[in-house]
Symmetry: C2
Subunit: 285 residues, 2 copies
């Protein structure tokens, strides 16, 4: 009954019911590896070039030699060709440091169904908690060993923050740095609207969002101004719109912060429409 489709980078299709990773793979033993996730709609993997470019950035930060885009495309093509699960698919690209002493990464592409909650989050919004992340983004960005800004397989904190939210009558989290500045969600970029300007925090110590970059590009075509600027939690409360932006959920409006309800934001429908354009840039000309 599994709808998963798994492929190696030589294009081999792997039975998802069979194990793929060895017990001594550093991806398992140490969360030592990197990944990317994006949404596939009607066979089109959104922003794939950008995701592959960010995977390469993460690989450099982890000193991990990963295959090039052509290899990833072979695996991705196999996943896409064998997907029978419907219009939408979540595509994950994974590269671990590989087996102990093997000296080569373990790489695969995996397609699976979209969690139904994603659609609910887009439509009815999410209640967020602001939680301290422990560090300041600008400081973390100067410490390469902290891997801030790399998309690593070590996501236990991100997952724990999500569980903490669910245990406290919320759906998601916005991390705040020890300097009082807004960072990011566990799996999303924070974007606010102030009038007709979109603002997102600088990428110091956080992941550079692929989807927010696309949103900025395509919203600018529709007349939005776009800015990167430090944000404080009060800015979130006072914003005309507040969203969590990410590659699969796309745009999730925030409808409460730390238990304080807020408007879903007038611009939600327009921005969701902009992000829904399959290839981006569709309305440029």
């Amino acid at each position: 009954m599994s709808k998963l489709v798994v492929a190696l980078l030589d294009g081999t299709l792997v039975d998802p019911g069979q194990p793929l990773i060895h017990a001594d793979d550093f991806g398992v033993l140490r969360g030592d590896g990197i990944f990317e996730t994006t949404l596939v709609v009607d066979g089109y993997a959104r922003d794939l070039t950008e995701h592959l470019a960010r995977l390469e950035v993460s690989a450099t930060m982890l000193d991990l030699a990963v295959p090039g885009a052509a290899d990833w495309h072979r695996g991705i093509d196999t996943v896409l060709a064998n997907w029978t699960g419907g219009r939408d698919m979540v595509l994950r690209l994974v590269a671990t440091r590989g087996r102990e002493n093997a000296g080569q990464p373990t790489c695969f592409a995996i397609g699976g169904p979209v969690n139904p909650q994603i659609y609910a989050d887009r439509s009815i919004g999410v209640r967020v908690l602001t939680l301290p992340r422990g560090f300041a983004g600008a400081a973390a960005a100067t410490m390469p060993w902290l891997l801030a800004g790399a998309k690593t397989l070590s996501y236990a904190i991100n997952m724990a923050a999500g569980r903490y939210a669910h245990a406290h009558d919320a759906d998601d989290v916005i991390f705040v740095g020890s300097d009082g500045l807004v960072l990011e969600g566990p799996t999303a970029t924070v974007v606010i609207a102030r009038g007709h300007t979109l603002i997102t925090p600088p990428t110091d110590g956080i992941l550079a969002g692929v989807t927010v970059r696309r949103l900025y590009r395509d919203a600018a075509i529709q007349g939005w101004l776009t800015e990167t600027a430090p944000l404080k939690p009060t800015d979130l409360h006072e914003a005309d719109g507040l969203w969590l932006v990410s590659g699969v959920r796309l745009l999730a409006p925030v409808v409460s912060i730390d238990g304080v309800p807020r408007s879903i934001g007038q611009a939600t429908e327009e921005l969701a429409g902009i992000l829904a354009i399959p290839q981006g840039l569709a309305q440029k000309d």
Copy 2:
């Protein structure tokens, strides 16, 4: 040629040459899981009760339901019974959150050879860098979503810190909190000697070391005073002895800090001898 021995918790022996983990296991995709590592000498797994107890603590912090000690012992017994790799073995116990939607953890025990570097570290010591960890231990300890003190599979930062050290003419790292207090090594507890007193930092925001607890217990029998107290980097420089203490390497004397050489410490031989006692407590009576 693999010397690995892998077993499931029902006692089943697994071929280490065959994959064990599915591509959608959260242990791989998110580093979402926990582990323990200890040294086995002549078939005896050191401090196993304490490691299983800490695994349970980590499981609680991650809200992960893991099997009890009896199950782990079944897997461990199979690993021990099938080990042919010599006197010393590294034993790892791993529990991941399991496959997406499976709702049960993936658990296994894995035995493998000790990295030869371990023996060199014990004998000739390690050169450490002090590196900022980004957060303050006491603050992190109040934020359960940061999982500080849990031994999770999300060890990418720990591994990156080690690589950073190696790239900068050092062997290991001592993390320092943003409050200026010494935390821990990426895979070890920090212990200093001041006269005939051993001092280790409080476990706020760091892992509670199993091996340092044994060291304290057995060193006390030999007349050492033992203390838990905040340490600053200057305390490391001024200490009469400085060691990284952990379950496999046991006691690694620090022979330089940030490029400044220091004595291996008169007490290294005595403390190493105390830690080498297989069962601990051997000289109590």
